[in-house]
């Protein structure tokens, strides 16, 4: 008997269950198909404007900075953000079509390089696949468009999110990911990010920038 068989046999013994019990199997399959939602916070109900306001408020509370911009302004706003903090103009970003389509020539001082982030990348720019207003949480999916390292290695992370992708709850945000990735092709990594990296491991003193980004700046892009 293998470890697998032994463990499953002991589980069935404890549950007094039979492996060929079709009713039990039908029950779990129905359960996974239904994807029933539990209670979702009432605070996350409201129209688009309300969700955007809640997202902004919660993300700020989590230590992120947020500004609302039009698509055309994104490159200049990124340049202004870096300049105001005395940060270098080099940014690392993937091949995200939305980001690529922006008018980067309008911020010629930015030095844009594409690909994964390495130890030298100081600022990463990525597009969020979705966001959940309930806690000001951004959702990123891995891949060539937005490599995961861009979200984690640089000291500064700038996230761009089209306002239409801001949803009420985690479940709504996840549905957006599901729609973009047909069944069985979930991206390798889905990252929920709520504010910049932090630790309170020394005397419970809260400090930003433990291993991930020290600052998270979010640009909410008005649609259309």
């Amino acid at each position: 008997m293998t470890a697998r068989e032994n463990i499953l046999a002991r589980v069935r013994e404890g549950l007094a269950a039979h492996p060929a019990d079709d009713l039990r199997r039908a029950r779990i399959e129905e359960r996974m198909r239904a994807r029933r939602r539990g209670t979702t916070p009432a605070r996350a109900r409201g129209d688009r404007e309300a969700l955007r306001a809640l997202f902004t408020e919660m993300a700020r509370e989590a230590g992120a900075t947020v500004e609302s911009v039009s698509a055309g302004e994104v490159p200049q706003r990124i340049a202004a953000f870096l300049r105001a903090r005395n940060l270098g103009p080099e940014i690392r970003t993937g091949n995200d079509p939305f980001l690529k389509g922006l008018a980067w020539q309008q911020a010629p001082e930015l030095a844009v390089s594409r690909g994964v982030a390495d130890a030298d990348a100081a600022t990463g720019v990525s597009a969020a696949a979705a966001a959940a207003a309930e806690t000001g949480t951004l959702v990123f999916t891995s891949g060539a468009d937005n490599p995961t390292t861009v979200n984690f290695l640089p000291e500064t992370h700038i996230a761009v999110i089209p306002a239409s992708r801001i949803k009420a709850t985690y479940e709504d945000a996840w549905d957006l990911v599901r729609r973009a990735h047909p069944p069985a092709t979930l991206p390798r990594t889905v990252n929920f990010v709520t504010g910049p990296s932090r630790t309170a491991d020394i005397e419970q003193t809260l400090l930003m920038g433990a291993h991930g980004p020290r600052r998270l700046h979010i640009l909410v892009v008005a649609d259309g």
């Binding site: 470890a3 463990i7 499953l8 002991r10 589980v11 404890g14 549950l15 007094a16 492996p19 039990r24 779990i28 359960r31 996974m32 994807r35 029933r36 939602r37 539990g38 209670t39 916070p41 009432a42 989590a62 690909g115 994964v116 390495d118 130890a119 309930e134 000001g136 891995s142 891949g143 490599p147 995961t148 390292t149 984690f152 290695l153 709850t169 985690y170 479940e171 996840w174 069985a184 979930l186 991206p187 390798r188 990252n191 929920f192 990010v193 709520t194 910049p196 990296s197 932090r198 630790t199 309170a200 491991d201 020394i202 005397e203 419970q204 003193t205 400090l207 433990a210 291993h211 991930g212």
Partner: protein, 475 residues
């Protein structure tokens, strides 16, 4: 780690006498509690979510065999491998074998209580591998050669000057002139040190807060981002976890995530919640090329269908220990094994044996705060009571204690004798206490009066009052 829970009483006495530890514990006593209360207060749905989370786990555990099979198939479909381990030794051997096959030298690790449970670091080091803990708290205690003292704040028993002294001692390239007296400087120093290891490690090991059967995903929750760097940068990602972490769907995970961080740190949500499914996809420029999951049993399957099944709902938030008056004064190390506090008292006897862990279910005043705050509604005092019963039945408790319980039981079954004895005892204690109303010493039960006086019983016994009340009501 090797358990030393049989020494609980000596450990606890030493902890209480340790002034440095008491000072540090003093500082941390209120933080977790007030932050949790504030977060819970902001979410009116919190208690309903607790009920739903409990129902999710109860359902999953009742169908655990099928969910495990489904989960394994989905991990396989996404290109990953599931390894099953009945014992800590098997689990460690699996990880060592993967490391050997890959010719690995350095392993980075995210925080994982299961890896503490199976003493993984020692096994890996014995096999000649270099292991680097990357969670700041875990990194600190690894350098000190200590086990964690709290399941979510492993270095909570240390002050910043302890950490400063440690870094000065253990970081050879650290400039002696550099100021390190602020936590921020310590965090920056650790960040610099660990960067190199993140970027050069051959294998990254993380735990899992949840496993999702529907998609074959593992979920980790961190604040530092160390878990993500650990699992993204090296070519191999190994998840070391246990069979009870499963939930059916993302929707179920979302419900549990809504109560996890609020119960643990009082955050609305931890900074990073990461869902990992298989290795990197074709065309992905980063992420691991291999994804392994080690599923540990280590006695958990034996709890299904028993009076201890509820303990398998635990999501390791630490709220029970944060609110425990015993944990708050003795700290985590006194418990002598990886899971301290009320959850340890309910779980450790199942994992390391009741004989080893027998003091832990007794180290409770049964005040009930742990159960009150447990997001998964685990009846912790009840589980401790069950362990006490087993301890009595198995004859593990000392003979004097068992004699006392038997004596009490004899009286309890004979109401007339019980009443008489209770009245007699009350009168005797009152007499001994004289006018002071308190007893300094109690013959044959010195433990009760070693640290405080025992108030003498006042007025009539409970039974006498009860009788009278009934008479009045009948009239």
């Amino acid at each position: 780690m090797r358990p030393s829970s049989t020494n609980f009483r000596a450990n606890a006495r030493a902890a209480i006498a340790n002034r440095h530890l008491q000072q540090v514990l003093d500082q941390t006593r209120t933080g977790f509690v007030s932050r949790r209360a504030a977060a819970v207060g902001r979410l009116p749905e919190f208690d309903r979510l607790r009920d739903e989370a409990k129902a999710i786990k109860d359902h999953t555990l009742a169908h655990l065999d099928l969910y495990l099979e489904h989960y394994e198939a989905r991990v396989h479909d996404s290109g990953g491998t599931v390894h099953w381990a009945e014992t800590p030794q098997e689990a460690c051997a699996i990880v060592v074998a993967i490391a050997r096959e890959k010719g690995a030298r350095t392993i980075t690790k995210g925080k994982s209580m299961v890896s503490e449970e199976i003493d993984l670091n020692r096994h890996l080091e014995d096999a000649g591998l270099r292991v680097v803990e990357t969670d700041l708290g875990e990194y600190i205690i690894q350098l000190r050669g200590e086990p964690p003292s709290h399941i979510i704040a492993p270095a909570v028993h240390l002050s910043k000057s302890d950490v400063e002294a440690l870094f000065r001692d253990r970081h050879p390239d650290l400039d002696p002139g550099r100021a390190l007296d602020e936590p921020a400087a310590l965090v920056a120093e650790a960040r610099t040190q660990l960067r190199r290891d993140f970027l050069t490690a051959d294998i990254g090991i993380t735990g899992a807060n949840l496993l999702i059967a529907e998609t074959g995903s593992s979920v980790i929750v961190t604040n530092e981002g160390n878990g993500d760097l650990t699992q993204t940068l090296p070519p191999v990602h190994i998840v070391i976890t246990a069979i009870e972490k499963l939930v059916p769907t993302f929707e179920d995970a979302a419900t549990i995530l809504r109560i996890l961080a609020r119960s643990a740190t009082g955050q609305e949500l931890s900074v990073y919640t990461t869902f990992s499914t298989g290795p990197r996809r074709p065309g992905d420029p980063d992420g691991p090329e291999e994804y392994h999951v080690v599923l540990l049993d280590n006695g958990r399957s034996g709890l299904l269908g028993s009076e201890f099944q509820d303990v398998l709902r635990c999501i390791r938030c630490g709220a029970c220990m944060n609110h425990c008056p015993v944990y708050q004064v003795v700290g985590g190390h006194a418990y002598g094994w990886v899971y301290p506090g009320p959850i340890g008292a309910a779980l450790d006897p199942a994992l390391i044996g009741l004989r080893e862990a027998r003091h832990l279910p007794n180290a409770s005043s049964f005040c009930g705060r742990c159960e009150e705050v447990c997001p998964m509604r685990i009846p912790l005092p009840k589980l401790m009571r069950h362990w006490r019963e087993r301890e009595f039945e198995a004859g593990i408790a000392p003979r004097t204690q068992r004699f006392g319980v038997r004596l009490w039981a004899w009286f309890a079954r004979r109401p007339v004798w019980y009443r008489t004895a209770a009245e007699l005892a009350a009168r005797t204690l009152r007499f001994l206490a004289r006018r002071r109303g308190r007893l300094r010493r109690l013959p044959l039960a010195g433990g009760w009066t070693r640290h405080r006086d025992l108030p003498a019983p006042e007025g009539r016994t409970f039974q006498a009052l009860w009788r009278e009340r009934h008479k009045t009501l009948r009239r």
